[in-house]
Symmetry: C2
Subunit: 195 residues, 2 copies
């Protein structure tokens, strides 16, 4: 693969926040997860733990648990970017994974000093692969921020997160409702070069 | 680009720890950095700051500063994986970026809650792009672990790291001495699927 093709793919990846109800085909799901599994890890520890939730009952359960946490946030003191989520949560309409039919949770060991970057590298690979195979996707942080809240933690252990693991990110995955968007302009992410 | 091509590229990316002296062509360097700039960031804050060091004098300076830190580690209590580095550092032969002609430092704001994952996503994109354009590369963590040690911090500020920024990763970049290796088998990175 040429650099140009990769660059186009990187630019095509956009956060998708509206999904069709149609479930992701199993072979595509595995392709996405395999891309994550092949990401590097510090000292090659390979401690990412991918848990794909596709069962509607489980998805609804974690949605409702998260909604309750968000509904209880104080809109006057919380991050202003959460204002809309808080409003929706208070009326039972908040979905932190945007109604995607598949949610891939990425856990890692708490005692792995590279747990956050290892998980992020896997997520980036998965987002690129999802984009390459025509799936909408969105990096989800809520389970990272609220994964230790008791009801969320209990749910996570029920789906297989181990005692010594925590969640460092997740990926919403499905077929996008909207047509692909053009790349967002980067005005930040500045560059200095010392020649 | 097809999923298969991306998967092959992902598998082709391997940590390169021996580089030719030849400097990376400027257009390839920019291609690699642009791939990092186009990575996503939480809340789209775009706060990665890429600093490419290509000046031999600066590369040697940071090498020597880091070597001094590693030489002073206690081999009996440090991570056993550092034993070889400590031994080399004590005799003035430790190079944390493996002698690459270019080192791309990735800084981000300390108050950005997503500074580590945002930097890691940018690094993953850069590693894939470097691989696609035929450059050896290796994710480097030393500046993340030791970036606040006073002599290192002073150096980082001299090259442009801002007061409110810290370093969350770096990339060694150059032409590999050795032929490409096959992908490392992943026996970890386990997967659970709830259908």
């Amino acid at each position: 693969m040429e650099g140009k093709d990769l660059y186009d793919l990187i630019c095509m990846r956009r956060s998708c926040r509206a999904y069709l109800a149609k479930q992701v085909a199993p072979d595509l799901l595995l392709q996405v997860i395999e891309a994550g599994r092949m990401a590097p890890s510090g000292m090659n520890v390979q401690q990412c733990h991918f848990i794909a939730i596709r069962k509607q009952e489980l998805l609804e359960k974690i949605r409702a648990l998260m909604e309750q946490i968000v509904a209880n946030l104080d809109a006057t003191t919380a991050n202003p970017m959460l204002a809309q989520s808080i409003k929706l949560a208070k009326v039972g309409k908040h979905n932190f994974y945007y109604g995607a039919p598949t949610l891939i949770v990425v856990a890692n060991r708490r005692d792995n000093a590279n747990n956050v970057p290892d998980s992020a590298a896997a997520l980036q690979n998965m987002m690129l692969m999802a984009t390459a195979v025509g799936l909408g996707n969105c990096w989800i942080n809520n389970l990272r921020w609220n994964g230790d809240a008791p009801p969320i933690r209990q749910f996570l252990e029920e789906i297989g997160v181990k005692q010594d693991e925590a969640v460092y990110g997740a990926l919403a995955l499905g077929y996008a409702v909207d047509a692909p968007k053009t790349a967002l302009v980067r005005s930040g992410n500045v560059v200095d070069i010392w020649e």
